[in-house]
């Protein structure tokens, strides 16, 4: 088993390194002039040249790449784990990502937890229940929710629950901008308020996260239900289930056997969904003004902040690859055929 994991780690590493190279050159291929960032009352030609030096863009591309990877006297490169400094704020990209990533993770993990715990039972019920209505209903919902734009439902929810009914908070972010957030340990307000033992903050952060999580979960439950329903119904028609039925195995045994067989494809879906959710986060964060990684990547892109853009793509893709790795290992644990 460890040999499988080591090999899989090697593959993941190669992918991340090639990713870093691809990102660096992809951005520089695009026809955009980032030096424009330095604008001020006196942005004369000399100041423009000065800014170019400060950004290091006067050097040839290949040398920029060397600095990007290995760093030079002042700045350290990727090897030292630094993603360079953001051109807008001047502080390291990692600092910004550290500030914004927890917010996105908090939103995603919470929505993921809720949608998985809701969707799996519904999906299994959809596949196993005898009456057609439940079966058809879960299929239709799975298809419908799986293909919905988060931003249109987000606005509908804000209007309905906040403006009209007033049962939900306004789209003000993870917590009311006026309350003192708990001192950041994990960066996630829900977790930090637990650590800090502040029940009022915990309640408030959950209260403010209700609408964004509802929107993301609504969109997530769709594909999960559809996938679970398909896998379970497929695995119920597998040979060993039908044989088990013919030789009188109990309903409970058959159900657990088919679920075990249906787990593997469900795990792969979770991997795919993860990168799908990161994209969705950009939209939800901009709607509910959550200062997450999605918002930071949007600002960096609009402000043509190359180091920040590179940093964001590398962090997100590595996270995605990490999730794929964990899921592959989990699958191999479950299914001996993969351990060959």
């Amino acid at each position: 088993m460890t040999k499988f994991v080591l090999k899989r780690l090697g593959v993941g590493l190669i992918q991340i390194v090639s990713l870093m190279v691809l990102v660096f050159f992809l951005i520089r291929l695009l026809p955009a002039d980032p030096v424009a960032r330095f604008v001020g009352l006196n942005a004369s030609a000399e100041a423009y040249a000065q800014a170019e030096i400060a950004l290091g863009l006067d050097k040839p591309v290949l040398e920029q790449f060397k600095i990007y990877l290995l760093g030079d006297e002042q700045t350290d490169g990727l090897i030292h784990g630094s993603l360079g400094n953001s051109w807008i704020s001047g502080s390291p990209v990692l600092y910004h990502i550290g500030l914004t990533l927890p917010a996105t993770l908090e939103l995603i993990l919470l929505s993921f937890l809720i949608s998985v715990s809701l969707a799996i039972p519904i999906g299994v019920a959809g596949a196993t229940s005898p009456n057609g209505a439940v079966n058809k209903g879960t299929l239709i919902y799975g298809l419908f929710a799986g293909s919905q734009p988060e931003f249109s439902w987000g606005t509908i929810f804000i209007f309905l629950f906040f403006v009209v009914l007033g049962v939900a908070p306004g789209p003000l972010g993870r917590i009311s901008p006026l309350t003192e957030p708990p001192d950041p340990v994990s960066g996630m307000i829900v977790v930090d308020s637990l650590i800090a033992g502040r029940a009022d903050l915990l309640l408030e952060s959950l209260w403010y996260l209700s609408l964004p999580v509802l929107t993301l979960s609504f969109v997530l439950t769709g594909p999960i239900i559809k996938m679970v329903r398909e896998n379970v119904s497929q695995s119920m028609s597998l040979g060993f289930i039908q044989y088990g039925e013919a030789v009188g195995l109990s309903k409970k045994m058959l159900a657990s056997d088919s679920l075990l067989a249906a787990v593997a494809p469900t795990l792969t879906l979770i991997g795919i969904l993860f990168s799908f959710m990161l994209g969705g986060a950009v939209l939800i964060e901009s709607m509910f003004s959550i200062n997450g990684l999605g918002q930071f990547s949007l600002q960096s892109v609009l402000a043509m902040d190359y180091p920040a853009i590179q940093g964001v793509v590398i962090v997100i893709s590595s996270l995605t690859l990490l999730v794929y790795l964990l899921l592959d290992v989990a699958q191999a644990l479950l299914d001996p055929r993969l351990r060959a």
Binding site: V39, G40, L41, A43, A47, I88, P177, A199
Partner: protein, 578 residues
């Protein structure tokens, strides 16, 4: 109370028991959270200020200097040498300034010696920084030396000094590093007085001292944070705070989230009435509107006209503001045909729907702008009048220019891309749509092209290649028509700086040159007035509207005063119960 129980996992027998204990603990914990969050002790005097963004940097020579959201931090942390004198007039709840006379802020008195072309400045005594260091001449010298070192990413200090013709603050600093050290142009006369020499009799010197840049640093504190690779502590000012001799100090600053100022403990006289200000970053104006409507914040700005309108109606809120120097204009680049043809420029100015912009774009919270410099500035008259007759006049002008009904203008399709700042889509979007619709009606093939703020700034101020733009970005910080002319209309050869429309008119250059060199104020005013008339006639800019600089605030807050950088000095404010 600690949430995670300290004892080791209970043996199986008591498993059931600990489960119940757990749930009881959790319940108690949640209930304790339900009481209303107690107010923090000193909110009675603390002001909660909702802003578009908290300062991205506090270094007026740094990358974020041009952002309005950073300037508000700088002006409250650092006091200038001089300030404009307050004028008794209060317009719609906001006090204005008498821009022709000054009052001392850090300076006690200041004397101009025309023979030497020098300014002797005596500093106020007993003024202490947040670090407890007393203000001395060394701090002023340090401030000018730092500006001259042009070591920052955007050397604004150097620029303003060069505009005010401070001796040897010229472009040579860029070509020759040796020129970057402070010479004898600023000399220390005594512990509390300095003398600054000018290379020409330039009246702008006192004006630039009031701006957000060239504010005096606490040199001792700055030197503590200097490093071998960053002698002028740019990193420290970009990241931590900007030590000066202002009324407030930085209590906490988390970029992109929160910025808290508290009153400077070492400041006895002129101590501010508001002790603590909490800047809260709420990027979307609709969210700021929601929080103000719920009454959970005291002050907010930069809302859309409809949001101000809606807030004005609420009982514990008031909307105050006046038309300061925020203007909207159409910029047509002389170097991008067909805008070099005056007939086209006049056709465009005839077709633009001014009334729609004022009534629907700004919901009457603005007035038509009939000059090329904010009319509030001294010596500025309403000398611009769009050709009467609206669309019909525009069509005639177009056919006179040889493009009946716009036929033949397709060739310039690329130049008819109307650009504007994408981040201001909510406010400028409708106006751009209206202009596009009306111009297309007469045959001018306009398309919209929102671009990010950075790209907009670069193409207007650096490359100057933006053919057609709708801009509300240009607010001349120095309240002087001459400064505005140098900034926007003088051609580069005549010392012009931005001139984004590549406007070139020899008579304007000549008038500006003589205005700059004359020592006689009335002659200077005469030259400037004639220059403004010529600029308006050439439609260097097509002025559209002067919109109000407004704030939505709690009814108990008073003392608001307008400054050219549109930032609030919280030391002006005070609370008054009803």
């Amino acid at each position: 109370m600690k949430i995670i129980p300290a004892e080791s996992p209970a043996p199986p027998g008591t498993q059931a028991l600990s489960a119940r204990a757990w749930s009881a603990l959790l319940l108690a914990f949640l209930l304790s959270g339900c009481h209303a969050p107690e107010q923090s002790a000193d909110t009675d005097s603390a002001v909660i200020y909702l802003v578009e963004d908290v300062p991205a940097g506090l270094n007026y020579d740094g990358p974020a200097a041009s952002l309005h959201t950073s300037q508000v931090g700088i002006v409250n942390l650092m006091d200038p040498l001089l300030e404009y004198a307050a004028s008794p007039e209060v317009e719609n709840g906001v006090q204005t300034s008498d821009f022709s006379s000054f009052e001392g802020s850090l300076a006690e008195n200041w004397v101009y010696d025309p023979a030497e072309q020098s300014w002797r400045i005596d500093l106020r005594k007993g003024v202490y920084s947040c670090a407890g260091n007393e203000l001395t001449a060394d701090d002023v010298l340090y401030t000018f030396a730092r500006a001259k070192s042009v070591s920052g990413a955007a050397p604004v200090g150097w620029f303003l000094a060069s505009v005010a013709s401070v001796a040897s603050f010229d472009t040579s600093v860029f070509d020759n590093p040796a020129k970057r050290r402070l010479g004898d142009e600023i000399s220390k006369l005594g512990r509390y007085s300095v003398k600054v020499f000018q290379s020409a009799p330039n009246p702008l010197f006192p004006h630039i001292l009031t701006s957000f840049a060239l504010r005096v640093f606490d040199s001792q504190e700055m030197r503590k944070h200097a490093t071998e690779s960053d002698p002028w502590s740019h990193q420290y000012v970009d990241e931590q705070t900007s030590p000066g001799f202002g009324p407030y100090c930085t209590e906490r600053w988390i970029k992109g989230d929160e910025f808290v100022l508290t009153a400077n403990p070492y400041r006895e006289e002129r101590a501010p009435s508001i002790k603590r200000i909490v800047f809260k970053r709420v990027p979307l104006s609709s969210n700021r509107f929601v929080i103000m409507k719920m009454g959970e914040a005291d002050l907010s700005d930069r809302l859309t006209p409809r949001e101000f309108e809606a807030l004005a109606g609420l009982d514990n809120l008031k909307v105050i503001g006046l038309t300061g120097n925020e203007t909207l204009f159409l910029h047509m680049n002389f170097k991008s045909p067909p805008f070099d043809n005056p007939l086209i420029r006049r056709a465009v100015s005839a077709a633009v729907p001014y009334d729609w912009i004022i009534n629907n774009g700004y919901r009457a919270q603005a007035k038509q702008w009939l000059s090329v410099v904010p009319t509030r500035y001294p010596g500025v008259s309403e000398n611009f009048q769009p050709p009467p007759g609206g669309l019909e006049a525009a069509r005639q002008l177009l056919s006179q220019a040889g493009y009946p009904n716009g036929k033949g203008l397709e060739e310039f399709q690329e130049n008819f891309q109307l650009s504007y700042v994408a981040e201001k889509q909510i406010a400028l979007g409708p106006i751009a749509n209206a202009i596009r619709a009306k111009l297309r009606e007469v045959g001018i093939p306009v398309e919209l092209n929102p671009i990010p703020l950075t790209q907009f700034g670069d193409r207007t101020l650096v490359k100057r290649d933006l053919p057609f733009a709708l801009s509300d970005q240009e607010k001349p910080v120095v309240v002087d028509a001459g400064y505005a002319i140098q900034l926007f209309f003088a051609s580069p050869s005549a010392g012009g700086v931005n001139n984004m429309t590549n406007y070139h008119n020899d008579s304007v250059d000549a008038l500006w040159a003589s205005a700059r060199t004359t020592a006689n104020p009335s002659a200077r005013a005469e030259f400037i007035a004639r220059a403004l008339d010529q600029i308006a006639a050439d439609i260097a800019w097509l002025p559209l509207a002067e919109f109000k600089t407004q704030w939505a605030t709690h009814t108990e807050l008073y003392g608001f005063r307008w400054y050219p950088d549109n930032s609030i000095r919280f030391s002006d404010l005070y609370r008054k119960e009803h």
